[in-house]
Subunit: 339 residues, 2 copies
DNA sequence: AATATATGCTTAAACGATTAAGTAAGCAAG
DNA sequence: CTTGCTTACTTAATCGTTTAAGCATATATT
């Protein structure tokens, strides 16, 4: 790669010191009392040589990299892709660059990523935390690293976070199913202790009991690492029971998509035989023969809030944690139509 | 953010010079003939203080950032998300970090991104180029920046590139439709001069003429900025003609998804009334009542190849351009079943 | 005339790491 | 006892930028 033009090159050509060039090109001419003629000359040379400041050198001097790190579960998953995109755009507006990494819901990878990003001197982190990563988060706090959790958080650790009310959204969705006449509503969620999923499960259970329905045998869990098999087992159990389920609530879009694949395979009629509702949005939901009712997460607002709060922390290291909770929206479509 | 531990801190605690610490911690003790005792002591202190090298300082000295820049059209699009993910993983294996940016198929944004990434001293670029960005690519060549184009390339510019044979894949898919009895096959593609899309269109046209079919009025173009309207118009024209189309070939998954939304709305029967084939993969294709036949791009291989070729260029600035072309696979499903 | 102030630039240190070159002390060989 | 070789370190320069402090020279003020 051709060597880039540095202040030194410009200084040489102008016959002045490097410092003077720096003053001019960072618009500190007045403060540094640079002559008008000389300023003009320097600028002209800089333009001629197409000078581009070396960001690395600047960072070393300033201690800031104008870069934020983003850790998602998997950038190839459209949900996280969207989150990443809004954060990228929002960061750019503030002259920040984003480095993204995928943790695969694996706490070791997540820990590695945090280290890599911090060694690259990111100014702060936006993290979608993984199960079991509490210690990593506490470390960030101890080290006083500016960071924001997004999508999920740990109720036992007071950190800045951007999230939705998973309990309410879930309760809402299930209540909608009940109102539309469903009596045996099953749920398929991830087998995890992560708070956001636990809240979704709680919303489901309480919506049932609030309406005098039993929850017995209706909550099924799938392992992240064995989605396909576990979902098939779950659906087999729910639909094969003496009283088969008449509605199914999926805790995430990945679960729903995998579940719908099997529902198609089994030839189950949606919504006649089985109503379906899912968390999260997906293009795939539009193409299913009965467009799928879903809980829309406000990804754009979440991304914006995450960047805003993170930048506040970066600018003021003493700022207290801020927990942002944004409303969701239940988008009702044919998959949950009344029987 | 708490100040990080530097070599200086360790040197102070050990009562030695910074240089000595550097030699030890970069495992150059033998070359620098460091005493065994002292080496041990230094390592111990480093561990105690949890020293993490400052990557920025290293980069400034070495001129390498161990970072590669990736420019995609839109990271929230699953196709590009997958590409990004494979590149992230492959880069990590080689101790490289990736900075991704989305160009939105906009050449100004693409140019800005290239500048931002180069100013951040990335060691090389992997680019999914945008229409009209030829000048930017030539500039990269002039500046001798290591880079690889992926997914698309400019036939007039000799660069390293990773791509598929768009013509063949398209010809293949359309031939498949013809073999399954379709006579009036329409295609919806982007209105662009980008070579990869042009090749897809050419594959379509030639497959028709090779089989003695007319192409008249069967190729429809949609603007990237007006996908929805343009697709609706295109489908209206194709299906409303005196001899309506009996098959539809989409040039990308975004076009297909938007098209299928409208096909559902119109109540067109797939595959009975209309066969459908699309370029690219999508979860949504699985949930459509007639699983959609599609052309699978070898994203994993493409990502791996891109990183491999880029690293070769980074390591050897004189290396000649390498054009990699990887085979696609036509995955035949019900949406294109024989009539 | 002596002093103060303004102007226009340079010097030098710093950020954190790397690395060639230098030095000081110990020991062996001639 | 001088020279040379090891050994075990230190010094100092460097990467590109920023910025406080310094230094002439010219002009204004008393």
């Amino acid at each position: 790669m051709k060597k880039k033009v540095s202040l030194k090159d410009i200084a040489q050509e102008a016959g002045v010191s490097v410092a003077l060039v720096s003053y001019v090109l960072t618009n500190k001419e007045e403060k540094a009392r640079v002559g008008q003629e000389m300023a003009k000359k320097i600028r002209k040379i800089a333009r001629k040589l197409n000078y581009q400041p070396n960001h690395i050198a600047r960072s070393l001097k300033s201690g800031r990299s104008d870069t934020i790190g983003l850790i998602v579960a998997d950038i190839s998953n459209p949900f996280f892709g969207h989150v990443a995109r809004t954060i990228e755009d929002e960061a750019k507006k503030n002259n920040y660059t984003v480095i993204v990494g995928s943790s695969d819901e694996n706490m070791d990878k997540s820990g590695d990523l945090i280290n890599v990003l911090l060694n690259r001197q990111v100014d702060g982190l936006i993290v979608i935390p993984t199960e079991g990563s509490e210690a990593q988060i506490r470390q960030l706090q101890d080290r006083n690293v500016p960071f924001v959790l997004i999508d999920r958080f740990f109720p036992d650790i007071a950190t800045s976070s951007i999230s939705i009310d998973n309990y309410a959204a879930s309760h809402d969705a299930v209540s909608h199913l009940i109102r539309s006449g469903r009596k045996r509503i099953g749920m398929i969620a991830y087998k995890t202790n992560m708070h956001h999923i636990a809240e979704r499960r709680r919303g489901f259970s309480e919506a049932l009991t609030d309406n005098g329905l039993t929850t017995a045998g209706l909550l099924k869990l799938a392992r992240y690492s064995h989605i396909k098999e576990d979902i098939r087992t779950a659906i087999d159990q729910l639909m094969g029971a003496k009283k088969p389920a008449d509605a199914l609530f999926f805790a995430t879009n990945s679960l729903a998509i995998e579940g719908l694949r099997y529902i198609i395979e089994l030839g189950i009629k949606v919504p006649e035989q089985l109503a379906v509702v899912s968390f999260d949005e997906s293009e795939a939901f539009d193409l299913f023969h009965a467009p799928v009712t879903f809980i829309r997460q406000p990804i754009l607002e979440m991304g914006k809030a995450a960047v805003r709060v993170l930048l506040e922390h970066i600018r003021d290291g003493e700022r207290p944690a801020e927990e942002v909770c944004i409303d969701t929206e239940l988008v009702i479509r044919r998959s949950s139509a009344a029987q």
